[in-house]
């Protein structure tokens, strides 16, 4: 039995397994990174516009109208919003809108990236507007995180919080958490100003500045050097944890010490 086990589990087996696992993880990660950088470089053809128009008629026209000029009080005109707006709204699942409410909620994407590109091509064909940024424009590795911090603090933090954790706006609207948002979508949001967000065009924040902001947000992925972040919502969370965990644990121990004597 023992010798059989020794033969089946070769001494090198764990090392080989770990190596294989690493190779698998690296391979998958490479494939994913290829996929994300691929969708940023978009070339459109006339076919895309026709396909996009079909998709638009089937999925968006009930509110935005067949000619995409919008419906008074229901949905805005999409003439001139550009491909970037479509890629952001549809790519983050905000459109098609799930239900009316204070603002459109990000949900699971309803279309493939190809379909989104076709929709974007159609909307872009209606009037000139901002295009989907290139992979280079949104590459966090090329940005300056320190400059991004200063830009973020003056332009974004009042709604999205100091490190992009999100925050409340009026009447149930809110500025979402930015940590899960892809660099392309962050860039497009600044460019097009979705929902309550103002537009930050290139005169406001240059293209490089936008990339610096993306680099700053990307730097948050490393987590906090101080331990768990408690949602990075600041002193309210800290106070709640101070009362519940710190004081809670200590009072529990006073009860324990008190109980042991009597």
């Amino acid at each position: 039995m023992h010798s059989l086990a020794r033969r089946r589990y070769h001494r090198a087996a764990p090392v080989i397994l770990v190596a294989l696992l690493l190779a698998l993880v690296t391979g998958v990660a490479w494939a994913i990174s290829q996929a994300t950088s691929a969708d940023a470089a978009v070339t459109t053809t006339a076919d895309d516009v026709t396909e996009g128009q079909k998709l638009f008629a089937a999925n968006c026209a009930s509110c935005h109208g067949l000619d995409a000029t919008g419906t008074e009080g229901v949905a805005p005109s999409l003439v001139g919003v550009g491909a970037a707006a479509v890629d952001f709204q549809v790519g983050t699942g905000r459109m098609p809108m799930q239900a009316s409410g204070p603002q459109a909620i990000a949900k699971r994407t309803q279309f493939s990236q190809d379909e989104i590109n076709q929709l974007a091509a159609f909307v872009a064909s209606l009037g000139a507007g901002p295009a989907i940024p290139t992979a280079e424009q949104v590459d966090p590795a090329l940005g300056d995180a320190a400059n991004g911090m200063q830009l973020f603090r003056t332009n974004c933090a009042m709604c999205h919080g100091s490190v992009g954790g999100g925050g409340a706006l009026t009447q149930g609207k809110y500025a979402p958490n930015l940590w899960e948002t892809t660099p392309t979508h962050v860039y497009e949001a600044m460019l097009t100003g979705p929902q309550s967000m103002p537009v930050f065009n290139d005169a406001n924040i240059t293209s490089e500045g936008k990339r610096d902001i993306i680099a700053y947000l990307e730097a948050q992925d490393a987590g906090s050097p101080g331990g768990f972040r408690l949602g990075t919502i600041g002193p309210v969370a800290e106070g709640l944890w101070g009362w519940l965990i710190a004081l809670g644990l200590i009072i529990a121990s006073t009860v324990w010490i008190g109980a042991r004597s009597s």
């Binding site: 911090m149 999100g166 009447q171 730097a219 600041g234 800290e238």
Partner: protein
Amino acid sequence: MGTRLNRAAAGTANYVDERTSIGGFVKFFARKLFPDHWSFMLGEIALYSFIILLLSGVFLTAFFVPSMTIVTYDGPLETMQGVEMSEAFASTLHMSFEVPGGLLMRQIHHWAALLFTAAIVTHMARVFFTGAFRKPRELNWLVGFTLMILSLAAGFSGYSLPDDVLSGNGLRIIEGVTRSIPILGEYISFWIFGGEFPGEILIPRLFTMHILLVPGLILALIALHLFLVFLHKHTQYPGGGRTHKNVVGLPLFPVYTAKAGGFFFVVFGVVALVAALFTINPVWNYGPYDPSPVSAGTQPDWYILFIDGALRLMPGWLFDVIPMEWEFWGYTLSWNLLIPAVILPGLFFGFLALYPWIEAWATGDRGEKHVLDRPRNAPVRTGLGVALITFYVILVMEGSNDIIANLFHLSLNDLTYFFRIGIFVIPVLAFWITRRIAFGLQRKDRELVLHGNETGRIVRHEHGEYIEVHEPLDEQERWLRVGYEDIAPLEIEPEFNDRGVRRKGYRWDRFKQRLSRFYFEQRISPVTPEELEEAQHAHH
């Protein structure tokens, strides 16, 4: 070995005693009796977190540079590279990221500060609800109250030291509040900041206040607080044999010295654990102070949050018609700052500080009290306490309104409208409900004393009657439930004498009577020996 050790210890003790006569003190302290209850250790938590604050604070002062001189950051933090900042902020980053153990020490210091204030409030609540502030301890309540205020000053001055955006915004609010004080406000503000906000001298001033002035006062008052505890002797919970004239408990040595010593390490352990696991005040996220940006989720530490909440609650226009900012002869009177941030905390803290005298005066109870009240036996006081806590918690929640709105997907505006009405309604409801619960518990106590515990045993008599057997309480249990004072509301002389002449001072008396009635009109009296006798006869 044992005898040699004993001889060495005795020799040392003798050496010290012969030169200081300290033996008498040691004997006195070692034999001092203390009653035992877990809730008597809440004040200890505050004391121990203060010791932790002193220890970790000494470490931090070795690295912190209290200066507002502008430097350019050049350190390991990528997101701050080349950013201009004050030396105070740069040294905070330096101690967090380059000094070994520095960040842990900072987090221990800050978590201990939150715990310090929380423990003080909890301890204060215990003293309030058990009536431990009554004669002869009113002055010690006032000392404790002052310590609470000083802990707020210590906390806020420390929170502002790193000179980051978050704390800078807090200082900006303090500046605005100071300026709202009529006539003097602007002078006080200029005096504090040495000119216009933010100025260049604030951080060094706050530093002196934070490491010298406030902790010095706190230390002195802690000494006075503990001295008075020794002088008055500790209060005790009601129970068999415990009266206003004795203390039932265990000696300080060896029982409490061992317990308290061990408990210090429990407190230190929990603080160190929390500090090692959870980020607190990540100033590197907020960035160096700059008066222009304010980020979402800008709040002070929890103990100042209620003032922030009051400011958020206050409408700029009352009922959309009456402006809360008045202008006359070129002066501005900002009621919208003055009411929530100056008058309201003043009334709240004033009531709290003077409560022992208010209650003694309203109830006319002047005796020395060494046995504590069970909160149910003082229904009005308990109700008032819960109402005050409710009031405070509503302000804290309003201070966190954006966080609550975001987490629970509520409308920020609706939340504020709700709290604007709630701040008047909910504390009154809380008072009423708490008092009713206290009455219910008192009735339950009467029931238990008169009829004993239900045993669940059903017995059938020979003549066919079924009864449930009740087991009478033992003496200790009964003592606990009948041993409280039954105070009737004040009776006053009539308004007119028999000749129809109005009596002087009648109105004042009537006011006192109303207060007394507020406390004692509705009350559940403890079971008297006669009632107990009668009930026992009825059973047999």
